[in-house]
Amino acid sequence: MVESVLNIEGLKTYFFTEAGVVKAVDGISFNLKKGESLGLVGESGSGKTVTALSVLRIVPKPGRIIDGKVEYNGEDLLKKTEDEMRRIRGGEIAIIFQDPSSSLNPVYSIESQLSDVIRAHQNVSKDETREKVIEILTMVGLPEAETRINEYPHQFSGGMKQRVAIARALACEPTLLFADEPTTNLDVTIQAQVLDLLNDLKKKFGMSLVMITHDMGIIANMTTRVVVLYAGSVCEIARTHDLFAYPRHPYTEALLAAVPRLDMRKTLRVIPGNIPNLIEPPSGCRFHPRCDYATETCKKVIPVLEEVGPEHFVACHEWRNIRLKGEMTHSE
C-alpha cells in the first residue's frame, strides 16, 4: 500500500459565532496518498475550504479546531508549535485560493511577492532568488517573465494572476498542494489552461494535490479519488471512476444528476432545499431532509462510513437497499 501524505481523523472545526456554534467541519476523516489527486467536493458551506484551512491551521476567527488529528507524513500538525507551522505553510503545504485578484498583495511587485516567500523558507542569495522567481514564472507560462516581474498585480489579467498565485504557492516546491476552487473566477478557456498547468506541475514536482471544487467536471478530469462532503461530514469516498459509475450515497447521485451534459438530453435535477443550518444540523443523517430515500432510522441515527467496495466508503444507512443511478450506466 502506498503511504499517506495526509491523514485526517475525526477533524472538528467549529465557529463560535454570536448566533451559536457553527459546526462547519464535524468529524471528517480521509487520507491522501503520496502523489495522488484527491477531489474534495460539496456544495458551498459543506466544509471543503474549512478543512483545507484547518490542515494549515489558519482557520479565521471565531473558528477553532476542536478535535481530531491531522497527520502530515506521520506527524500530527495540530500538535506543532506556531513556529513549526509557519515553516510548513508555504514550504511544505501550500494553498491556492479562489480569487486571484485578491490573493495577491496589490502594493508589491510580482517579483517581491515571490521572492518574499522563497526567502522566508530557503536560505538563498538575492540573485539566486531572482533567478528562481523568473524560472518558476516561466514554468507557469507567464510570457516575458524577466520583464513582467517588475509589474504589479493590477497589470495582469485574471488568468495571469492565477498563474502568478500558483507560482507563488509552488515557489518552495511544496509536497502537498490544496487548490481551493482555483478556476471558479476564470473564463472557461482559461480554466482549462490553468487545470492543465496544475496537472503538469503536479507531475513535475511529484506533489500530492487536493482539489477543492463543486464542479463535477473538474473532479472527473483532475482527480483519481473523491471525498464527497455534505454539511461538514463525509458522505462518500471513492475512486473517481467508481463514484461516477456507481454512486452509493443519495447525495452523490443528486450531485451527479445536477451536472449538465451535452451528450444526453435530460432535464437537470435540482437537489431540493438548501444546505442545512450548521448551528443546529438535522438529527441523524444530515442529508435526510433532502433525501428521496430517507427512512425513520435516517432521522435518528448518524450513519458511519462503511466499506462497500475496494476503496469505496459510504455513510448511508440505506446503501444496501437502494439502487442509485450513476453517470455511466454501462461500464466503459
Binding site: 476567527k61 508555504g90 496589490p106 504589479y152
Partner: protein
C-alpha cells in the same frame, strides 16, 4: 517704534519695535518642529493602537476602542491647556535635544509638543483600525498566512503598506492641525513664552491688533499657507503612492 510694512520691514514692526518678518521666519522653524513631531507621536500611537485593535479584533479591539473613545469625548483643548500649565513649570533644562537628529528644542515647546501628541491620536487610531479591518478581510492576508507569514509580518509588511496612502493623507492633515493647535494654545497664553512661535506672535500683538494689524495679519497668513500646503502635499503624495496611478 511700530512701523507699517515697508521695504525695510516687509511685515512691519510690532508695538515694541520687533521686526515681524524676522519673527515669522523664526517661527517657521518651530511650526515645522511642532507639526512634524506632534504628528510623529500621534501617528506612532495611533498606528500601534489601530493596528492591534483592527487586526486582532475581539476583546482586544473592544478594550482599545473604549480607551480611544475616552480620549475622543474629552475636550482635548481644555486638557491640553491644563497639562501644559502643569508641566511647563517643571521644565528644568532650557533646551531638550532630540536624540539621533540632534535638534534643539526649547523645553517649554517640547512639553507643548508632547502633550499635543499624546492627546490627538484618538481619531487617527479609529481611522487606522477601520483600514486594518478592511484590508484584513482581503484574501491576500489569508494567502500570506498560508505561505508562512507571521502576524507581525502581515501587519507591518502586508497590511500597513496597503493603507499607507491613507496614513500619509492623515499625517499631513495632522501636521496642519498640530500647527493650528499650537498656535491656538500659544494665542491663549499657554504656550512657551520664551519661544517665538506664530501663535506667540499673535498673542503678543493681540492687544494692539487694531493699530498694528500687520503683526497679526502676516503670522496668520503664514499659518494659513503652511496648513494649506500640508493639505496639498498629502493629496499629492497619496496619488503618487497609489500603484494604480503609477505607470
Amino acid at each position: 517704534m511700530r512701523q507699517a510694512p515697508s521695504w525695510k520691514y516687509p511685515f512691519g514692526t510690532s508695538g515694541i519695535g520687533t521686526d515681524v518678518f524676522s519673527e515669522v521666519i523664526h517661527g517657521t522653524k518651530y511650526a515645522l518642529y511642532v507639526g512634524i513631531l506632534v504628528t510623529a507621536i500621534t501617528m506612532g500611537i495611533s498606528i500601534l493602537i489601530g493596528a492591534i485593535a483592527g487586526f486582532y479584533g475581539g476583546w482586544v479591539d473592544t478594550i482599545l476602542m473604549r480607551i480611544t473613545e475616552v480620549f475622543l469625548v474629552f475636550p482635548a483643548l481644555l486638557l491640553i491647556l491644563v497639562f501644559v500649565r502643569i508641566f511647563s513649570l517643571t521644565a528644568a533644562e532650557p533646551f531638550w535635544i532630540i536624540p539621533l537628529i540632534n535638534i534643539q528644542i526649547p523645553a517649554g515647546l517640547t512639553i507643548v509638543i508632547l502633550i499635543l501628541g499624546v492627546f490627538n491620536w484618538a481619531s487617527n487610531a479609529r481611522m487606522i483600525r477601520g483600514e486594518f479591518l478592511r484590508v484584513r478581510e482581503l484574501e491576500f492576508t489569508e494567502a500570506e498566512k498560508a505561505l508562512g507569514a507571521s502576524n507581525l509580518r502581515i501587519i507591518f509588511r502586508h497590511i500597513l503598506p496597503n493603507i499607507l496612502s491613507s496614513i500619509i493623507v492623515v499625517s499631513s492633515l495632522t501636521i496642519a492641525y498640530a500647527i493650528l493647535l499650537e498656535a491656538a494654545v500659544s494665542f491663549l497664553g499657554f504656550g512657551d513664552p520664551n519661544t517665538i512661535t506664530w501663535g506667540q506672535i499673535l498673542q503678543e500683538n493681540f492687544s494692539d491688533a487694531r493699530v498694528v494689524w500687520w503683526a497679526e495679519f502676516f503670522p496668520g497668513l503664514a499659518i494659513l499657507f503652511t496648513v494649506f500646503g500640508f493639505n496639498l502635499l498629502g493629496d499629492g503624495l497619496s496619488d503618487a503612492l497609489n500603484p494604480r496611478l503609477r505607470e
